[in-house]
């Protein structure tokens, strides 16, 4: 069976991730610290603005958005760039290239176990706590289904961007700077750090035509909007689908082209 080929990597990833108990624990603690900072930062921003509603969002809305964005970020962040950079530098990439699977899927599925672990250990608990504490601020209905569809496509877009940036390492053989830049750009322009609503109008319309906001902002918008109109849902999911296709094709082509340039040293 074909699917088994991929799911076995997911399974291995889960087992592997569960081996490192301390790392999981530290991630949870770090997460909580980050959220505390977010809480006080935005409290100060709202206090200094002098009004309860900034850019159409109350303090409450902003906080829910950012907490869920952080949870989503922790769930979806893949560190692919970092990993590819290291494999290309050390030459370990050879071992990935000789697997009977194309390298792009191999790396994705090898990582996929972490999605499962992170979903159950970070996203789901955060989501449940936020729902319980805010008592009804997060609507639970058909929007959950839209959210799930949206997240799946967001993962594909996110991975394609990562893979594209990771491929650059074939040329630079150094990844640190590129990785940091990618992280900042994605976090800022995707809404994972600051809600898109807070950006100036001009920047917002530019962001609309970039792939980044379709990673975090799109699924969160669908989740937090209690009764989105059908046309809005179609618009969001449709645009995401287009970006999925575009980024997948681009990253695949770039990889295929770069593979011919690859020089693997030593050993």
């Amino acid at each position: 069976m074909k699917l088994k080929k991929y799911l076995t990597l997911t399974r291995a990833g889960i087992i592997e991730a569960l081996q490192f108990r301390l790392s999981a624990f530290i991630m949870v603690v770090g997460n909580i610290l980050y959220l505390i900072i977010v809480y006080f930062l935005w409290k100060a921003i709202y206090a200094s603005s002098g009004s309860d509603v900034v850019n159409g969002m109350t303090f409450h809305d902003t906080l829910i958005y950012l907490v869920l964005a952080t949870a989503l970020f922790n769930f979806m962040e893949m560190y692919t760039v970092w990993q590819m950079g290291r494999s290309i530098q050390s030459g370990k990439i050879v071992l990935d290239l000789i697997k009977p699977m194309n390298c792009r899927s191999y790396l994705f599925w090898s990582y996929s176990g972490n999605f499962v672990v992170n979903f159950f250990f970070t996203f789901l608990p955060t989501f449940i706590i936020v729902s319980a504490v805010t008592d009804g601020a997060v609507p639970l209905g058909i929007n959950l289904l839209y959210f799930v569809c949206s997240v799946v496509m967001a993962i594909v877009i996110n991975y394609s961007i990562d893979f594209f940036v990771g491929t650059i390492c074939v040329y630079t053989e150094s990844i640190w700077g590129i990785n940091i830049m990618k992280q900042v750009v994605v976090r800022l322009l995707s809404g994972a750090m600051i809600p898109i609503a807070f950006f100036p109008e001009a920047l917002r319309s530019v962001i609309y035509y970039l792939p980044f906001q379709w990673i975090y902002n799109a699924p969160l918008t669908l989740l937090l909007d209690g009764s989105p109109g059908t046309d809005k849902v179609l618009e969001v999911l449709g645009t995401q689908l287009i970006w999925c296709v575009v980024m997948t094709v681009l990253s695949k082509l770039f990889w295929r082209f770069s593979l011919r340039q690859i020089t693997v040293n030593g050993g």
């Binding site: 088994k4 080929k5 799911l7 076995t8 990597l9 291995a12 087992i15 592997e16 081996q19 490192f20 030459g91 370990k92 050879v94 071992l95 290239l97 000789i98 697997k99 009977p100 699977m101 194309n102 011919r260 690859i262 020089t263 693997v264 030593g266 050993g267």
Partner: protein, 333 residues
Amino acid sequence: MSDIIEIKNITKEFKVLNRREGLLGSFKDLFSRNYKTVRAVDNISMTVGQGEIVGYLGPNGAGKSTTIKMMTGVLEPTSGEILVGGSIPYKNRTKNAQEIGVVFGQRSQLWWALPLVESFRILRDIYQIPEQNYKDMLELYQSLVDIEPLLHKPVRQMSLGQRTLSDILAAFLHDPKIVFLDEPTIGLDVSMKAKIRTLIHALNREKKTTVILTTHDMGDVDALCRRIVIIDKGKMLYDNDIEHLKSFFGSYRTLKVRADGDLREQAEVIQGELPDMKVWADDEWISVLVDEEKAKVLDVLGKLQQSHSIRDMKLEEISTEEVIKKIYEEGVK
């Protein structure tokens, strides 16, 4: 015997940045770069039959790994033709991967944090090995080496020898037609080396797997290969039976002795006594290169004992490096 690997005149060139030296040079590099082309593999041709074990030798940087990477489909040759199992490796990388197994002595393809058996299960699924074949293979492994204790041990807790052994087993697991072993015995102790040689030999015999073995250890070659290919600086120097190599070079051995007095002076005296042999000295030993077809080592030793007081002696077989050095210096007749 059908040919499984066919290589015709392949060449691989890399573009390497020629960096300038010093602070000013580094600064200049920011604006203008100057690349030079390095030819890692230069016009190599060979064919390998199904079930053969070929020793692929050459000094570090000779282009061995580059050739192997071309055969595995990781690198694309700059020119020339290469066929592995009838198809072009870099164009059908995924299909080719199904037919080959690779062990790089310095890197492990196993899942670091997991017990070995989990790695085997993952490989079973990604290579889509039928359950029955998988079971048979594990039974075969069990009959060759005692893998039971290894199976449940996480790879990161293994010794280098155990890990290498596991890596070799993993490479053979999907019953590939060809296995590339790149310095599999590097850094291993004598008994582990022997164990691994026996294992490779047995798997080759049982499964008719073609093995391409890269090594610097002449012991590996003697134990496993009947045919060797030597390359240096990307060029093929030798491709023939190992017997032929020995007869071509005569059977040279180096006799090392330690005598009383100043070694260098003694060496000159000995050179006078043995004019048709090469004699040299370092801080510890006086070395005499003996061609066994012309004189017996024991006779030489006996001769030396008559005129010098010898405190210690040892014999050295000619090493891979020396063979290659000799081939490179003298060429192949």
